[in-house]
Symmetry: none
Subunit: 206 residues, 4 copies
DNA sequence: GATGAATGAGGCTTCATTCAT
DNA sequence: TATGAATGAAGCCTCATTCAT
């Protein structure tokens, strides 16, 4: 029946609305200081109604986090695979992460904030999920780098360590940008990442 | 009088004991899931006694965090200034941070965890304090790099961006090590940091 | 909608129930020895429910006090204005206060008790509210007396002092009656108040 | 031995010092908001030391209250018995109460405040003591009035009611004066009390 | 399905009192 | 005898979750 379809579509719309408001409030106050009632109010629902979309505050938080992160990860992957050149791939990897940060400031603040790791016992689940997702992302980065090594463009070095370094630089710049309100765009930092990651900071000798 | 001295010494000993236990518990459960009563119990004190050392749970948390961080920062600085060679300085900068992480696993988990940013309103104070301390540390790193530029060892590039990159790589490795329980020592990663940061990952051309 | 109406009516009923029980308990134990949990229990509510009706224990206390006092004041005023004769007005003023005391023994005990003046800092608000209400009542008494002077029935004397004297005698009798459990009705004291207030206690000479 | 004597004298001095400070603090904050530690600090003693003078906070409060009240009562009685004339006696009764109020504003505020009636269970004892003292005072007043009746100066009326009326007027004026900070002296009110109490407020006819 | 009032466990903090020094 | 750190019971209040309407 079409009814069921429409019902599901509506359900998902409402669910998305809640997630959107939850994101804002969690970003502003952190997990523990955000009240379920507040999120409900902001989404235009009654408290009880939230519990038809999410079984608990914690699950709401987890869903919000993982779903958005997956969005980010897949958009990054999507952009990267389009590129043929390895160097270009790395650049797009960094650039698309930066773009996501710029477009989702609030969300990223949550992430930097990091109370995902403070959830009582149940956090185990979240931690696992996030770790899995993160590891997939790192593996993807590693794969790109491995390809660079294979094609002789990059040094022969543990790709895992290289991926971690690249991610470290990228995150560090994103954090700086998030915590220090400036006028500049994060995209301006891409060349810095590329230059340092590829060439290092030592002067000549090279 | 000697009495007052001894009293103060004892006071500080007890205070330190509380901080030590608090660190463990906060590390294990996060700020919100750690109960004051539990910390008191673990330190061998009655609940009320904690309040003679710290005016509130939040202040206890803040003290624990800032005091330990300052210890880390100063020990790093101390090690670095002993070195004459710029490259050595950078290496020691990374190595001493890694050493601290190895010796204070629990504490660093807290820090990574990051609920410092979730404290209700009062967190403003903490955030400021941490930011100030962090900025001092970054400035210190920058200064080392600036010196490297001046002596012609490092590229002419915004030292701020370079410092951020170095810190990013270091933190990324530390996080990896903390979240992935292995047998290896973090110290083994120092050469990777140095190599990538100084020479980059691009193959020859140099 | 009728629903909202009924909801409000129910809300007020519950609120009134709480106020009634609170009155009893505050009267029996005073503000500080009365536990919120006890009041909740007596009203048939859970602790948390009280906080949907009153934002704090103090506000509950304040509401209970001021609302009942206003009831008293207005019932007194209402009775008085009905009378044409000045002497009768004064008599009704005294009598209706006595009637209220008789019908609200517990409440009056609270008032005599006087911990309204002991509430921490926040009491300032209560003190103001009570003072305002009390002053209005005194003004009303003064007005009656002023009218008596104007019509030549009462001596030319500061009406404020006269009102204070009348209130003093009335309160003194009410207190005596409240603290000394007897069988007699307070109403029997009305003639005494009138006689002493109007004629004084000196024998003839007049 | 003289030593014991001196010891006792010192003991009483210290005790008095504590009572004096306690009076101020209780007056300012009420029984429940006054902290034992604060009273100790203000008196220049350690917390524990207070407990060598008074077995509990409540007993300290009770002692402070009853001792000072007795001082007042006896000073009043002393002044009154000196007078031969009945009318003068009544006047002195009122005047000396007013004088006490003027010289002990803080103390009287406590008394008006009235948390004596809010002490938990133990209050029973205090209430009894105060009642006994108060009744003795009332009896004394009654006795004066009875004498006035006997000598034919005052109407034949229940002396108890007359005493209550006189006390009511006096207290009412004292309260007004205490709560309304003015420049005038309370002593100016004595004639009003006398006039109203003796002659009443009705105009001629007398 | 939607609502939001009711629940009540649990947390932080206070403070009178004790007792080892 | 004086001290004041330690105690721990008890209180107020919050808020995620439920369930009758």
């Amino acid at each position: 029946m079409v009814k069921a379809e429409r019902r599901e579509r509506e359900f998902n719309l409402r669910r998305a609305e809640i997630l959107e408001q939850a994101e804002k409030i969690f970003a502003a106050k952190g997990f523990y200081n955000a009240a379920v009632a507040e999120i409900a109010g902001a989404s235009g629902f009654a408290v009880g109604s939230l519990y038809q979309f999410f079984p608990s505050k914690e699950q709401l938080y987890i869903s919000m986090l993982t779903e958005k992160l997956n969005t980010m990860y897949s958009s990054i992957r999507e952009s990267v695979v389009k590129q043929a050149d390895i160097i270009k791939k790395i650049e797009v990897l960094v650039a698309s992460q930066f773009r996501f940060v710029e477009n989702n400031t609030e969300f990223c603040c949550i992430f930097i904030r990091g109370d995902h790791l403070s959830l009582s016992e149940g956090s185990v689940e979240l931690r696992k999920r996030l770790k899995v997702d993160y590891d997939i992302h790192i593996s993807f980065t590693e794969e790109v780098i491995r390809e660079g090594i294979r094609t002789g463009l990059l040094k022969k070095m543990d790709p895992c360590m290289m991926a971690a370094a690249l991610t470290g630089i990228t995150n560090s710049y994103a954090s700086r940008w998030l915590t220090t309100v400036e006028g500049t765009s994060l995209m301006n930092y891409v060349p810095f990442v590329m230059d340092i990651f590829l060439e290092g900071v030592r002067k000549d000798a090279k």
